[in-house]
């Protein structure tokens, strides 16, 4: 209905519980991931990707700035691509993506699992998955 005016309450009247916080986090982390991906693509172009990488490889690096993503390209010296700076950038992207993704899975599960007990199990599993995937991802990023 185009005629209805959207009603919005200020945050102080709405209250900020955990679900509201995660609702906001989902949107802000999406913007954060956009920023990191654009930053990684610009970084790749700055490091000479224009001459040494195809468009697809630049995107592959952009979506996760990990050095293994440039090893199969024509980049001659991968040292600038595996500095702690890029590993930190990749870690930030990984942590944002895992938190965003696992919360998304919980939201989907909540549509189908309605009992209190079931939802508790979903939340427990999601915390386990979030912690393990973050640790495994960080291990891969910092040892590759």
């Amino acid at each position: 209905m185009a005629t209805t005016k959207s009603r919005t309450l200020p945050l102080s009247k709405r209250g900020l519980n955990f679900e509201m916080f995660m609702w906001l986090f989902t949107r802000l982390s999406a913007l954060g991931m956009y920023a990191i991906i654009l930053f990684a693509i610009l970084g790749a172009l700055y490091m000479g990707a224009r001459n040494e990488m195809s468009f697809a490889d630049v995107l592959r690096w952009g979506f996760m700035p990990n050095v293994t993503h440039v090893q199969n390209t024509n980049v001659s010296d991968t040292a600038p691509w595996s500095t702690p700076f890029w590993r930190l950038t990749a870690s930030a992207l990984l942590l944002l993506a895992v938190a965003h993704g696992v919360h998304g899975l919980v939201v989907i599960a909540d549509d189908y699992i309605v009992s209190t007990r079931g939802r508790q199990i979903v939340r427990l599993l999601s915390i386990i998955m979030m912690a393990s995937m973050s640790l495994i991802g960080l291990y891969v990023l910092w040892t590759s």
């Binding site: 209805t4 949107r27 995107l59 979506f63 989907i108 189908y112 590759s144």
Partner: protein
């Protein structure tokens, strides 16, 4: 636990949610697809060896690349639309127009990507 729908599956499939419903479904498929396959990709890099190589070969197959890029690109563009509209609630009445803009951005970008993937696969 379990599915508790008040309508039959046939009725659910006949639900005409149109554009917004389609983006909702594709956003879910994209999100689930990424969650499953990127988890798999991280685990493959972690395990390494023969299993890791097998999983990563599957991941690098051009058909699979088209599928996963659809998931990533649609989820990203639709997510940006949701973010903008939700953070600026004044825009909510223009949701359907926003979805048209979204398709106008998505279709050319995805077409270029599919073209590049197929050309790279063709050698």
């Amino acid at each position: 636990m379990g599915l508790k729908r008040n309508v039959s599956l046939a009725t659910a499939l006949r639900y005409k949610g149109q554009g917004p419903m389609l983006t909702f479904v594709l956003h879910r498929i994209g999100g689930l697809g990424m969650a499953i396959f990127i988890t798999m990709h991280i685990l493959a890099s972690f395990v390494g060896g023969k299993t890791g190589a097998f999983l990563n070969n599957f991941y690098e197959n051009w058909l699979f690349q088209i599928f996963i890029f659809f998931c990533v690109l649609f989820h990203a563009i639709n997510g940006l639309r949701i973010t903008i509209v939700d953070l600026f609630p004044r825009l909510i009445p223009h949701e359907r127009e926003a979805i048209w803009v979204e398709w106008a951005v998505f279709i050319p970008l995805f077409a270029i990507a599919v073209f590049v993937i197929i050309r790279t696969a063709g050698g």
